[in-house]
Symmetry: C3
Subunit: 429 residues, 3 copies
Amino acid sequence: MARDGAVSVEELLARREPGRSLEAPFYTSREVFDLDMKLIFHRHWIFVAVEAEIPEAGDYVTVEIGTTSVIVVRDDDMNVAAFHNVCRHRGARMLTEPSGVVGKIVCPYHQWTYELDGSLIHAEHMGAGFDRTCHSLKRVNVRSLAGLLYICLADEPPADFDALAEAMTPYLAPHRLAETKVAASIDLIEEGNWKLTMENNRECYHCATNHPELTVSLFEYGFGFAPDDADTDRAAAMEAYERICAEFETRWTREGVPFAEIDRLHGCATGFRTQRLAIDRAGESQTMDTRSACKRLLGSLSEPRLGGLSFWTQPNAWHHLMADHAVTFSAIPLSPDRTLVRTRWLVHRDAVEGVDYDVDNLTEVWRNTNEQDAALVAIGQKGVSSPAYVPGPYSPYTEGLVEKFCAWYVERLSSALSSTSAETAPRAL
Amino acid sequence: MARDGAVSVEELLARREPGRSLEAPFYTSREVFDLDMKLIFHRHWIFVAVEAEIPEAGDYVTVEIGTTSVIVVRDDDMNVAAFHNVCRHRGARMLTEPSGVVGKIVCPYHQWTYELDGSLIHAEHMGAGFDRTCHSLKRVNVRSLAGLLYICLADEPPADFDALAEAMTPYLAPHRLAETKVAASIDLIEEGNWKLTMENNRECYHCATNHPELTVSLFEYGFGFAPDDADTDRAAAMEAYERICAEFETRWTREGVPFAEIDRLHGCATGFRTQRLAIDRAGESQTMDTRSACKRLLGSLSEPRLGGLSFWTQPNAWHHLMADHAVTFSAIPLSPDRTLVRTRWLVHRDAVEGVDYDVDNLTEVWRNTNEQDAALVAIGQKGVSSPAYVPGPYSPYTEGLVEKFCAWYVERLSSALSSTSAETAPRAL
Amino acid sequence: MARDGAVSVEELLARREPGRSLEAPFYTSREVFDLDMKLIFHRHWIFVAVEAEIPEAGDYVTVEIGTTSVIVVRDDDMNVAAFHNVCRHRGARMLTEPSGVVGKIVCPYHQWTYELDGSLIHAEHMGAGFDRTCHSLKRVNVRSLAGLLYICLADEPPADFDALAEAMTPYLAPHRLAETKVAASIDLIEEGNWKLTMENNRECYHCATNHPELTVSLFEYGFGFAPDDADTDRAAAMEAYERICAEFETRWTREGVPFAEIDRLHGCATGFRTQRLAIDRAGESQTMDTRSACKRLLGSLSEPRLGGLSFWTQPNAWHHLMADHAVTFSAIPLSPDRTLVRTRWLVHRDAVEGVDYDVDNLTEVWRNTNEQDAALVAIGQKGVSSPAYVPGPYSPYTEGLVEKFCAWYVERLSSALSSTSAETAPRAL
């Protein structure tokens, strides 16, 4: 794009300085965005939905990643399957609603009809020589991680999802997400690059001033906060925090829920991190009064004071699971400077709205927090778009997870570029 | 545009498989769109208007093809002339309304004034050395085909318009389109590439399910339907249809209107096809009750049961002429994924609204059909934009004319690219 | 951008014909626009604000030039300073309002805090090794020319601003713009390239027909009008005009305000022109009745019949200073085909709205004139976007200043391109 002095993406990646924010083109250029879509979002496991959205056979959701539309459907055997939402005739998008129920998948254009396993069972006027078996819907890889649905658009998805599943299943299992329902879902468009959305999510340096609702329940020390030995002012606060953590650990041990931190945020394709964290005050939930928002607890949990299990996956998701409800977040890039953040609040599938929970109360903390974060991402995008922007230093004490996100991104993009340099791209233009 | 594995447009054209839809870049890429505008829409005869819109001297319409604006005007000798809508001073667009009446063409910026023959007759402050004769408006080629106005933006337009005119004049003449008026005109923007608009127009495979209003009067067998010998279910329906056609042929012969199919859809610059088709039920018109929408028949026709003369021209138009009214359609590309479809309904110029015809009744079928087609084009565009899209097979029985449209397009673009590879483009950037 | 026959910007500049409008890519292409932003708007002195907007310490305005945001602030020593509006931490835009008052500049993201001299005084969690002195806000060059604020985004701004200041200060001083207040400010977006906005500003060939309000007070002969010896019709009008000018010159001499024309519009980086012009009828002000719009005259002026001092600066500004008020205009490119025109009306800072002046009366002439010009710029942009556009001839009698604007632009862009061809650009993508 540059007229002179052009620097390639490879050079930008190679010269990235650890401990500092990325150079501007990573946040602003169309070329990098296209690479992000192709090499990150089309080759990694992407969190897109929850099983709770499609409990019955024929229930589906459609998911859009860039110009790719995917149907995630519960098939007749009650398994979750995923297909490209592209008719094999002339390519029409078949299902145009975000969710619904179907018996078969019928293209509205010329009524080509597919089973829920993707096989073409009807195509009129195609003649005797036409082989339907060559025109099944294209499958998309999909995995349920204890009810959290991840898809991968590559033919050969990263194999290390198995390692993720093995490590995380014991942490997630007690909350039985597959037995929940979606009590609320909100889409928010942030006016910034998806990596600014993720970086914002990976630190709480900004929380104290910007998130009055969230910080009622949240200890800022939780999110990757490393104590600064020189910072004697905080010594007392840290000590109090550690005491509370010890109490929670006793309770977690008693209830048999794993809590040890796992941090595999980089060095692998399917990077993730988990940590069970104390909650302040009543200790129950990320709500305005820190108490459970839903009377019916998740799974067979009976102790409401479990704090919150936080679980982050690269490149685009984070989740908070409490005793009474869970909140899942996905970030989907829309353009170099726009990102969709979809938030879903899950409660026990037998919980009754108005009796067991109130949606306003359930969603108040993250509804507000998301909007505050959107404003921060927007000023971030405006700033890095200035020619005067240069990468600045991350705090070694509060922005360590931001650095790990960037390190993962840089290593994945570098690796994909070097391995694909000899390949040909699927589409020419 | 592609970072790696780039395939040129020439290669995409060369590897196109007959009998299948085009590869995605033909529908989605800016580069192909720019070539379409330059090599198809600026070098072929494009249907843009009807004489009925400009009956009197000084009447004009403005027409936009890409960033080119053209004035089509009836001059003082009652001929139709066309000029670029660009002042020869500093280039301002002079006429900004879609239609109107002028005595002279006066640029609103500095009042440079042109006759309706394009000559500059007034330019103040230009001094003694200024030669007005070097600053006439630039002419655009324009032809009236029995009242249908086609323009060509190239200096040397395709010569085979003469062959088209010779073949088609006898078919069109009985309807005397030059003696009509525009009873209604509707612009619709379809959210798809112009070639998807055209492909949709060239088949009726989709009609039965999607066009309840149109199929009241329409036999789907009409639009290029080829019987499948193996399809015994349709044998009875085809036989009934052929009986009705025979009755119409008798009537057409008696009324002296030509009806033999002409199909020159590819192999030439100015591709076209015509066919006079039976109309179902009352047999008169494409209306909800299949009866004439206008009491006053066109020209000196007296038999209302004439079915409909369909006339398609490459790259962008189709027309249906019945005994009582005609409908003309033009598709103008706006961007890779947006197309303007302009529909005009023509009735005898002496017909009186509210007495001889009712606009709602006249337009009901195509108003609805166009909107249904727009929805189909939109899902077509969304689907082919997915990286998962691959060209699919056309039905040999119902999509033969779609194939002919694509074959024409591919041969014209290939030919233009090979002939211009040595030339220089008129504009640099 | 062009597929074939590509012509570089350098070639387009080299082949530019003096006396004719520019070739289309200068008005329409993204590549030229990016160069305009980089080489014209980021390397020259750009008029952006007036001192009257920030009278007190801590008062600031933010200014956007392309994606660059600048804070112009009155510091604690009552000097005007300018900084990039980009936090040195992760680059967030700090001040998001167009104007306001601050004690310190605090980034809303993580509360990094800067003094009004740009020094970083607070950054939490950065550890003992962090050197705040390396993270001051980046300064932007700013100069006040008798109250008119010009910034330059280059590290080494053109030195000839000093020559401009020396020449212009005596002309501007009597109006004491630093002692005014902004009585009204209007932003208007013109749908055209910024150079069409400027060209339109540099001639009055279009005034007689398009500007009924402006031409009440304006002699069209004023704006660079050169008499055509052959144009005998105008001889009487010119003679009358010269008589009026002589009266004004007597008055200007008596009042001690300089009035001799200075024309350094090209041949230097900081091109400008000034001329004190007669005003028609009452001779006082650019108002509908040509009388003062504000009872309180500017500075210590006591004679209201001073006509108007016009002052134009390359690339983006013009100003009209009368005895009772001044109007300043800046044009800021937004995209190849959109330009922001900001107009400010200044009156004596002690003038009282509703007593000394009425805002509607004060702004009526230029409010209307700007909207009329916006319409002309829009048809200009549409016209030059047509492939049929070719550069046309400027009037030697009324468009001499348009030619000088284009000559300055061509020489500045050519010179910048030849001097930077060996350099590397600051940003790659």
